[in-house]
Symmetry: C2
Subunit: 342 residues, 2 copies
Amino acid sequence: MEPTILDVAEQAGVSPSTVSRVINETAPVAEATKKKVTEAIESLGYRTNKFAHALRKQASNVFGIIVPDISNPFFSTLIRGAEDRFHEDGLSTMICDTDGQPEKEARNVEMLVKERVDGALVTSTESESNGIPRLIDKDIPVVAVDRSPTGYEMTAVLADNEGAGMIATEHLLNRGCRMIGFVRGPAGVSTAHERFIGYVNGLESRGLEVQEGLIARGDFTFNSGKRALEELIAANNESEFPDGLVVANDLMGVGVIRKAEEMNLHVPGELAVVGFDDILLSKLINPTLTTISAPTYEMGGTAAQLLLETVEADRKRAERKHKRIVFSTKLVERESSQFGAG
Amino acid sequence: MEPTILDVAEQAGVSPSTVSRVINETAPVAEATKKKVTEAIESLGYRTNKFAHALRKQASNVFGIIVPDISNPFFSTLIRGAEDRFHEDGLSTMICDTDGQPEKEARNVEMLVKERVDGALVTSTESESNGIPRLIDKDIPVVAVDRSPTGYEMTAVLADNEGAGMIATEHLLNRGCRMIGFVRGPAGVSTAHERFIGYVNGLESRGLEVQEGLIARGDFTFNSGKRALEELIAANNESEFPDGLVVANDLMGVGVIRKAEEMNLHVPGELAVVGFDDILLSKLINPTLTTISAPTYEMGGTAAQLLLETVEADRKRAERKHKRIVFSTKLVERESSQFGAG
DNA sequence: ACCCGTTATGAAAACCTTTTCATAATATGA
DNA sequence: TCATATTATGAAAAGGTTTTCATAACGGGT
């Protein structure tokens, strides 16, 4: 059926070894034979059999990418950045959506192990009980992206979330806000925590105190953003309402804005809002959402690059060096924090 | 390193053949030996080598899923439905994002061919020059989802887009609109075209004429929705402004709503809007967008099921039967078409 | 003229399964 | 008791590469 390297060899009048050599350029071969072989390959439409190759080389040439939600534009951009880098080298990718559920993450990791991927990029769902130890156990190179699981020494590509939290907070301070609240993300998600730390530092650097009553917690979803604002308003009497809110991601930020609208609270006039991630939605709602953006696409590409380097080091039996690369973020000013509006 | 079936055989004191038989339950084996083998497998932590297996069985146990945009919630739900079905049988999946670009679709198909997937689910970017012929040429079973490419006889899982277009149009008619326009999708995308046909039929069934001046074209993106409304307003003098708009997908529908807001055109008071797809965003904007939704998750699962059946038929050398399954859609009423509002 | 070091190629082993074929052991029926 | 099925197992081939080892040819140095 499908032609094999043997068929090519026969047609070209050479041995399979020689054919392999011209395909992989792994040893010098005479110009004349090279030509015969190339022609035979062409005329038969030969393609190397992936499984035989992988079996012999003990390498699948496939890389896994695990994210919590492929429909979140932040992650789909990350994926695109990584894929473009892998495809550049003719490597294939396997994208896994954990849907934010640890057990789905475990299933996905199991799939990657079964497929014997050469490495994996992972944005783990939680810092505990994730699939990373399983991959490490199976000796599959792993690079963490966006979120850095604690307790493992591994290379990671991150955004400067602490800095981002600080930028957001300072932006609101500069704008004149004095009662700045924070809507936290899910416990155990490092990005969410770091943004909060940045907020705390931002306040303290100006000699302001963190007020417990101005802090709520959500789980990164739209609805949790709505609930968070509700709680914050309910918990304070009018004189202590927040006049600015740093929200740990855009999706919750949008929730906050929608809830504010329902409550007839004017954004940004009575409440300025800043989010993180710069997802598409943030440009589309009314008012548009000020946010902190990270170079997502580049982060994906860099992570892929580092993973490839780790694999290469393993191949040469060189020592793996664990790196930690942090990308800086930038403020994207939009209507939700506009100065003097309202 | 990694234990092989030989190691298991040795440890259990049997031949590799026997081990294979207990793993695959492909022939009767004595209860006692079965136990020995299972224990050996357990104690060594043996896992069958994917490549050797695939090489011998000539099957990868991997299935490809090609969509134009993984971050579009419509497609990510479709993917989830399909994946859940595949995973049920312990099969792996490879998700490909074509980004709406035919050449990226071609590259993705090439990757699937290289990976020797057992079958593919595809939502092709265009009806022409897509990767489907390549897959068919390589004898890889294909099922079309959501969009049905013309010119190939193949099984397809679709939504009743024509019916959907009709439902949307009738909804606006019932609501009292009389100048109903349509924002078309990209040329060559079957779903977009069928929705338009439904709109035409909807008007004609009430004895109304289709007016060229009320029809604009977009490309399924947010911005093209904004542009479309602009064009429609520019093209008509005030007495002939549309009072209702059927928009070929939600993303453009959102664009229309935002543009209307910029133009101080009240939705739904002066202009009622209906979209298609029921994406998350439609619930989040203001006013919320009335839309037509299809059972996306089920469509994905059904498509996977049919693909598996095709593969099974091939295996038995039975004839492939090309099916065509059409799911019906339903109206989701929201603010953008509310009756008596404004 | 002889030896040696390249350069170009082939033969065969190894990678790890599954499956066919053969055989041994056991059970069934007369 | 003997012939015949049936059940349980092993040996070996096949699936398609890559790579090591061996060999042949050839040019250059003495």
